[in-house]
């Protein structure tokens, strides 16, 4: 069971399927970092983006790029609305984190119900057929979906990195993440930063649901569960570290797939939750190499 072609195959496929998790994790980690909010509304954004694309591509027969843009537009519009009329209002009222959390999760659930009203709860995909071309490279099956996903995700990450590092607005996001009030004193609008963070998150998740929808099927209640991995990855990677979140997402995805080699298949999904507990117990501030190890 441990021979090389199998390990390579599992390694390859699990990295390819980690792509959408990476995007979801980055989006969640970004909003947490900049706005200090556990943005569970992201699940709602994911659902709306997917079903918008579904309606466009399979309902109205639009070509994929057009359908994607439509979904993206919806995701951005919703995120902005939630930020301006939701979070901003609650923040202004100095609402407790409890209220913010209730708001976020309730909006996500509202969206899930709305989507099941509009689209039913049958599993839907963005393509009629889920099979894609496969190339065999040294015994490892590489599908065109895999390559596509990796390319798109790499591009998205590069764009995100470039934005944050090289543009002024990106720098502002960091400033606000660090200390919102201080940034305000320097003339940086914290509200604007929050808005931009939400928009970027919406973009990332749109790419993510597109990838997911072309490989698997979605139902209205799926996004809330997909979010869980994003949340765990964010914690594991260290709150405030986008790179950490992304890497953690890849790690968790690979772990979940590779675990089949050592544990019976039915316990596979429980593994993620086990990891969550281990993380909370031993690495609540993220996986940092402990000081004594670093020194030695």
């Amino acid at each position: 069971m441990f021979d090389l072609p199998i390990l390579l195959q599992i390694g390859w496929t699990s990295v390819a399927t980690s792509t959408y998790y990476v995007l979801f994790a980055l989006a969640f980690a970004l909003t947490l970092k900049v706005a200090q909010v556990w943005n569970f509304v992201q699940a709602g954004t994911m659902g709306l983006a997917f079903y918008a694309m579904f309606a466009a591509m399979l309902g109205w027969g639009w070509p994929h790029p057009a359908g994607f843009v439509f979904g993206l537009a919806i995701a951005i519009a919703v995120s902005m609305a939630v930020e301006v009329w939701g979070y901003r209002v609650l923040r202004r009222r100095r609402s407790s984190p409890l209220l913010l959390f209730i708001f976020a999760i309730v909006v996500a659930e509202f969206v899930a119900y709305l989507l099941s009203l509009l689209f039913g709860t049958e599993p839907q995909s963005l393509t009629k057929s889920l099979a894609s071309e496969v190339h065999l490279v040294g015994g490892v099956a590489i599908s065109s979906w895999d390559l596509n996903a990796l390319a798109l995700t790499a591009a998205a990450c590069a764009a995100l990195f470039a934005f944050l590092r090289f543009t002024r607005q990106g720098q502002f996001l960091y400033a606000v993440a660090d200390n919102g009030e201080l940034a305000e004193l320097y003339g940086i609008s914290a509200n604007r930063a929050y808005l931009i963070a939400m928009v970027i998150a919406a973009t990332l998740v749109s790419v993510g649901v597109y990838l997911y929808g072309t490989r698997a099927s979605m139902i209205p209640s799926a996004p809330l569960e997909l979010m869980l991995l994003a949340v765990i990855a964010t914690i594991l990677g260290g709150i405030g570290s986008l790179l950490g979140a992304g890497l953690a997402a890849v790690f968790l995805s690979v772990l979940q797939s590779a675990s089949i080699l050592v544990i019976p298949s039915q316990w596979q999904s429980s593994l993620t939750y086990l990891v969550l507990f281990v993380v909370i117990l031993f690495f609540p501030t993220g996986f940092r190499v402990p000081a004594w190890l670093r020194r030695g």
Partner: protein, 387 residues
């Protein structure tokens, strides 16, 4: 400030409670002249595509029976409630059917729901007809729970024996979804196949929410089976097959009646070629009523029904209930659950229009011939019939 607010809130709550009581009692005062039966099916939720078609089939049959004069001059009435294929919602629905609508018999499906409402049927002495659910446990749920649909052991047993005996495959890999559908059926397949003399080289399960089956499929590949039996849901099976083919696993696959669905071919593409599925209902050649039935679907909905065989059974459900009422009316017994059950056991053999002869055994099971079909050039064609 808080005192008046609290009082107002309490009054509001009481008003609501009073309203329910009023509506509840008003509901039961409705006309009692029809012969009622309940139908608790998923109208919403992930299974609604099947549920809605099954409900439609029953409603068509009820209309047909009434057009021919009903039962003993009285009209048959079906009361439909949503279960979402969820046990808690199902319990609520059946509670209503039994306590408010006062039906003496109800039809339901989906194993989780069937099991959840069994205690109600047994306690209130109302006849529960499970039609479509196939967990083997169903035959042991109590005196008032019967099925008119063959349970998993029937078609899975036929498949296993066919695979070993006729197709001569000695090594099989079993993949199943980790819920009540998959777990029970996989156990049956394994025991039947091994008893016939075969070897189960892989026995893997997957979570209903999983989307990537690479690890599991690789395990299957290394176990080198001659044949693969897949027991999942229409939501995941095409994906499993698609990924299977992409990993270079070319063995033939079989599945149960749940795979007899055009979506399998649509989503899995070429990978579905050679797929073997079962059908527990007669096809057009075996039963002359099926042809016109399909025509009617094509005219009304422009497609064939989701889960065609299941809808045939639900169509016949109305005729089955009508037959029970006929017995009860003929013998001038009050229409209670107890008497409906008596009727079921007394009549025992029913000739039903869409599925043929039904014999209700004392152990609460029914046996039916199993039709095997396979996918050839993207279409389901008959393969064999196992009695």
């Amino acid at each position: 400030m808080s005192q008046p607010v609290t009082r107002r809130a309490w009054l509001r709550g009481l008003a609501v409670a009073a309203a329910i009581a009023a509506i509840g009692t008003a509901g039961t005062a409705a006309a009692q002249q029809t012969l009622k039966f309940g139908l608790a099916m998923p109208l919403t939720g992930s299974q609604s595509a099947f549920g809605k078609d099954q409900i439609k089939a029953t409603e068509w049959a009820v209309a047909e029976i009434n057009a021919k004069g009903g039962v003993n001059g009285k009209k048959l009435e079906v009361i439909v409630l949503d279960t979402q294929a969820d046990p808690t919602v199902g319990i609520n629905a059946v509670n209503r059917l039994v306590n408010v609508d006062k039906v003496p018999v109800f039809v339901t499906a989906w194993s989780a729901v069937v099991k959840a409402v069994a205690p109600i049927a047994n306690r209130e002495k109302v006849l529960e007809l499970s039609i479509g659910a196939n967990a083997p446990e169903i035959s042991k749920l109590g005196d008032y729970v019967y099925t008119s649909f063959p349970l998993a052991d029937i078609d899975v047993t036929a498949l296993a024996n066919y695979t070993y005996g006729t197709l001569k495959h000695k090594r099989v890999a079993i993949l199943y979804v980790n819920n009540d559908t998959g777990v029970e059926a996989a156990k049956v397949y394994r025991s039947v196949f091994e008893k016939a003399g075969g070897q189960v080289v892989a026995y893997e399960t997957y979570d209903p929410k999983a989307t990537d089956f690479t690890g599991m499929l690789l395990k299957v590949r290394t176990s080198n089976p001659d044949f693969i039996h897949l027991h999942g849901l229409i939501a995941d099976m095409p994906i499993v097959i698609a990924q299977m083919r992409q990993l270079g696993i070319t063995q033939r696959v079989s599945t149960y009646a749940g795979g007899y669905n055009p979506q399998m071919v649509e989503k899995a593409g070429k990978g579905a070629e050679g797929l073997i599925v079962t059908s527990l209902a007669p096809n057009e050649k075996q039963n002359p009523n099926v042809g016109p039935y399909l025509e009617r679907w094509k005219k009304a909905e422009n497609r064939i029904p989701n889960g065609l065989p299941y809808t045939q059974y639900l169509y016949d459900a109305a005729y089955l209930v009508a037959a029970l009422y006929e017995y009860v009316e003929k013998n001038q017994l009050p229409a209670t659950g107890e008497n409906m059950r008596k009727a079921l056991l007394a009549v025992k053999t029913f000739e039903l229009p869409m599925t043929g002869r039904l014999v209700v055994n004392d152990d609460h099971t029914v046996r039916k011939p199993v039709n095997l079909l396979t996918v050839q050039n993207g279409q389901f064609v008959p393969l064999a019939t196992v009695e």
